[in-house]
């Protein structure tokens, strides 16, 4: 509220500043609204939420795995993550589902449950924003799946399309 009041005061004094401040405030509020976790353990993807995850994970190696219910090789990669999770709890993996159809919502939930990946951080793209969100993840990525990002300690993204070899995942994710 204080922030809003402050914005309003400035609105009255500086029209130009007002426009940009209001927009920023709206964006922040929208971002916060989107930050609320959705049901079934998956959170609606937003640029802000993804930035937060990137900040949280800075200094460690982690993996972002993007998948769709329409992608058979994605199931194999999810199974590999499940296998690794049995070897080591709290894997540094963030899972992002790219489906936005209402018809695939339940499938998404069932698949994540099937692979016992509910405990990992799960995001899903939102309807009408799939391309924007794909672009926010990586403007160089065209949507082919599965898509895996190996993010190093410096926060640098190394993207790879297609099913990842198990050895590479072990090497990147297992610390014990």
């Amino acid at each position: 509220m204080k922030r809003l009041r402050l914005v309003k005061t400035r609105l009255q004094t500086n029209g130009l500043l007002l426009t940009s401040m209001l927009l920023v405030t709206t964006l922040v509020m929208t971002g916060l609204a989107q930050a609320e976790p959705a049901s079934n353990g998956s959170t609606a993807f937003s640029k802000l939420r993804f930035e937060q995850v990137k900040q949280e994970k800075k200094g460690q190696k982690w993996l972002a795995l993007l998948w769709s219910v329409d992608c058979p090789p994605c199931m194999k990669e999810l199974a590999l993550v499940q296998k690794l999770q049995q070897k080591q709890q709290n894997l540094a993996v963030v899972i992002i589902n790219t489906d936005t159809e209402e018809s695939s919502e339940q499938e998404r939930v069932d698949i994540i449950k099937h692979f016992n990946l509910v405990n990992l951080k799960n995001f899903h793209f939102t309807q009408g924003q799939e391309a924007q969100q794909r672009y926010q993840v990586d403007p160089q990525w065209f949507g082919e799946l599965p898509r895996s990002y190996f993010i190093d300690e410096q926060g640098k993204f190394h993207g790879k399309s297609g099913l990842i070899a198990e050895e590479l995942l072990i090497q990147w994710l297992l610390t014990i």
Binding site: D70, C74, E102, G128, A131, F142, S161, G162
Partner: protein
Amino acid sequence: MVIVTKIRSPMKNFKNRLSLLILLKVSLSIGFSQQVLAESMDHSQHQGQKPAKQAKTSCQKVAVTCGKTVTSAFAPNGDLWRVWSQQNNIYYQISPDNGKNFGIAKAVAIPKEKISARNENRPKIAFDSKLGVYLSWATPREKKYTADIRYSYSSDYGKTFSTPITVNDDGLLTGHSFNEMVVDEEDDVSIVWLDGRLKQRKDAGNGSAIFVASGNMTKAREQFVNQEVVNGTCVCCRLAVDYNQQGKLAILWRHIYGDNIREFAITTLGEQSTPYQVSHDHWKINGCPHQGGALSIAKDNRYHMVWYNQGDKGKGIFYSYSNDAGKSLSLPIAVGEQAAQAAHPHMSEKNGVIDIVWTQFTGTEHQLWHQQSTDKGVTFGSAKVLAISTKGSDRPFIVPGKNNSFVSWHRFQQGHWLSQL
């Protein structure tokens, strides 16, 4: 502008700036959509501005806007049909004036069943010379990644449709999907699809197989006998089909070569035993590109093709033609801007003119692009933006008419857009 400078209240000022921005945006949209012909008499098309939540509820009613995909085709009498799937029905609308106006949406009169309609998968429509209407689609089965190819026919221009049949004859609970359908001058209908039945074999390789089946609604003969075309194809990219001048069916698809090298290949049924490799972009991916190609065969039997790859030897959209059914190709021409995410190309040849459409994405806006050749594919004019979308973008398709070609582009919440090329 005058109003804005005279306003004293900052809030009003802001609102007016916002209005101005919206106005500018609307003006821009109008500028782009001068060729818009496809808005339906159904006013649901104008609800494109509504936020996603409202759109969800509004899609309880029947409207093309609610379809995830739209398939269009011209009937021999000049009518333009469009079909989409909603609530386990296939709906159609007919336009008598090249898409300027459409009649009311009607459900195809068959029992409800699930219809695959998203991304590369969607119902197909075709016509014969006697105004017979042909529909085919994939219906998902009870197990994941399983489906059947379905087919129905109308001999009375859509008033009634035959009881749907399952085209794949293997009786297996496996993948049968990504169907394409064409009808030739003899009114033979051919359906091709990606088929998972060979995965059951011990020597099954990677990927799917292509199967074909033909029928004729006016001749008494055995219908839709399934024939294997090729094994080892990508499992998630649409097929492209056309008849050549000998009346043979040619198929273009994404094949898996060696260790997951995904390249386009072509074969003409009855003319060759081994397919020709079309692209050499070396895209190695054990995954789903979700991007098929397009094929159009001219009266001089020149095969025109477009495809998309992200290989280490070739990235983006490419166009090429072949005078010998794909055995040798012209030097591929790059189409669109790779840095702007040029993707999902479609192409069609008509009277020596080749039209290519594709989409690009700026980070906030989808753009529909078009490029044309008037010399049988030797050179192309400059690429132009035809339309934009901020909410979403289905794949664009070229719909050949009697004298001209049209582009069909469905946009999430914005409706179906058609324009003469």
